[in-house]
């Protein structure tokens, strides 16, 4: 079973999260710059004379598609590396993934998200069919 993690994190935590994921062997990921706000509703910035409220802040959304069995470890890694304890640390969403197809090799499913040196190879897990 494949899952997708959408992690919405602080812009300034991108490198920490990327490094931590790399350390556990999450090789394939992509990210967007997004804008939004959560419960605290933005921050104040300085204008020409005094402050003003900005409610749409830049956040980073990291997308990872991975096997079910690696999900919990990856979630823990993101939670630890993205954490500051201040409002604005972000949210994680987890979805089931219907199918993955790699364009070059036409591999499907789990095979399509396996990489040399990834989390499975490190753990010596066997490649399983689907």
């Amino acid at each position: 079973m494949l899952k997708k993690i959408e992690a919405i994190i602080r812009e300034d935590k991108v490198n920490d999260v990327k490094d931590a994921l790399e350390k556990i062997g999450i090789v394939g990921l992509n990210m967007f710059e997004i804008r939004g706000h959560g419960r605290q509703g933005g921050i104040q910035l300085l204008g020409r004379a005094g402050t003003y409220q900005v409610n749409m802040l830049t956040k980073i959304q990291i997308n990872i598609v991975l096997s079910d069995r690696n999900l919990e470890e990856t979630i823990q890694t993101i939670l630890d590396s993205a954490y500051t304890g201040e409002p604005g640390d972000g949210l994680l969403f987890v979805y089931p993934v219907e199918e993955v197809i790699r364009v070059r090799t036409r591999e499907r499913g789990q095979d399509a998200v396996m990489y040399p040196g990834d989390i499975d190879e490190r753990k010596g897990r066997a490649k399983v069919g689907h």
Binding site: Q44, L45, L46, R48, A49, G50, V54, N55
Partner: protein
Amino acid sequence: MGGDIVVNPINAGDTAWILVCCSLVLLMTPALALFYGGMVRRKNVLSTLTLSYIFMALIGVQWVVYGYSLAFGSDIKGLIGGLNFVGFTGVDALPNGNYSKTIPHGLFAAFQMMFAVITPALITGAFVERVKFKSFLLFSLLWATLVYDPLCHWVWGQGGWLKEMGVLDFAGGTVVHIAAGFSALAFALVIGPRKGYGKSPMEPNNIPLTVLGAGLLWVGWFGFNAGSALAANGIAVNALLTTNTSAATAGLVWMLLSWLDGRPSTLGIATGMVVGLAAVTPASGYVTPLAAMVIGGVAAPLSYYTMRFRDRRKLDESLDVWACHGISSSWGMVATGLFATMAVNSNGTNGLFFGNPGQIGVQLFAVMVTIIYCFGVTYVLAKLLSWSIGLRVTVMEEEVGLDISSHGERSYS
């Protein structure tokens, strides 16, 4: 004995210096375009740049055809210049006894042209991000003809009625900054706020552009103020020193005010510098550098809290032309009446602190006349255009942004 001894009164040093100053003042219009262009939203950058740049073309023609003549032609009852310089007829390479005793008349006219170019460009900060380009062009031409040219004649033209009263305005406190600031206020009241103003934040798209613009304005202002001595002499040097001192002081004070409200904002510091420059403009050739420190130091809080007041009133005078130029230069005009001293400039007069309290009244009168005239005529012009061809783009065009909807281009792809 031979004929008359002909002494060419043109002074090469003065001429070279004013040629440089003319170029420096020209640079201020692109600088202003950057200053403004950085503060609008990204969909209106090209539009905002164009609103300033177009004056180099529009007034560059208007001034030669008739603008200069209305401002500096033979006086008609103290109110307006005659048509004797239309098409720059008689504006030649020789000195002019009234305006340019040691430099060619054509150079004086060119130097003055750069003032006529930047003044209406200053007003554009009031109506960025929503003005209809066609109406803006028509307004600008009418404003230059009906407001700038007469006012310039009143204050600087030979026989102009305010000049005859003894008003001290070295480089354009009334003619440039109060005129632009209060016209901006009037126009903003007529055109109304941008869609969503006060509800969604309207963030500057590129503060580095604004900071660069402020820096170039400061450089250009040396030409504006020191050049207004019309000679390479001690008065020019004094004007340069007072200009620098006022900008420096206002920048520091603004930084502190911003700090008290949270952090020392970059945009705030750059704004404070420009406010100090606008404030000292009328005084620059008449006061000492220490007086300039007071002028800049007082201008900063005056302008800062005017901005806060305007914002609280939900008045969308978008880039604060009124606060930055109108208010600070009104103070500068009054301060000229306080601090002017003939020790700095023997062609001027003394102010209150040098035993001539009457000068304050003259200065205040000139400020009031300028405010009433500029605000009034601009308000009427804007209303007339609003009723006839309309001042604003459509709501849809405003949402799309003027770069695309008015000019068919975009700044960033």
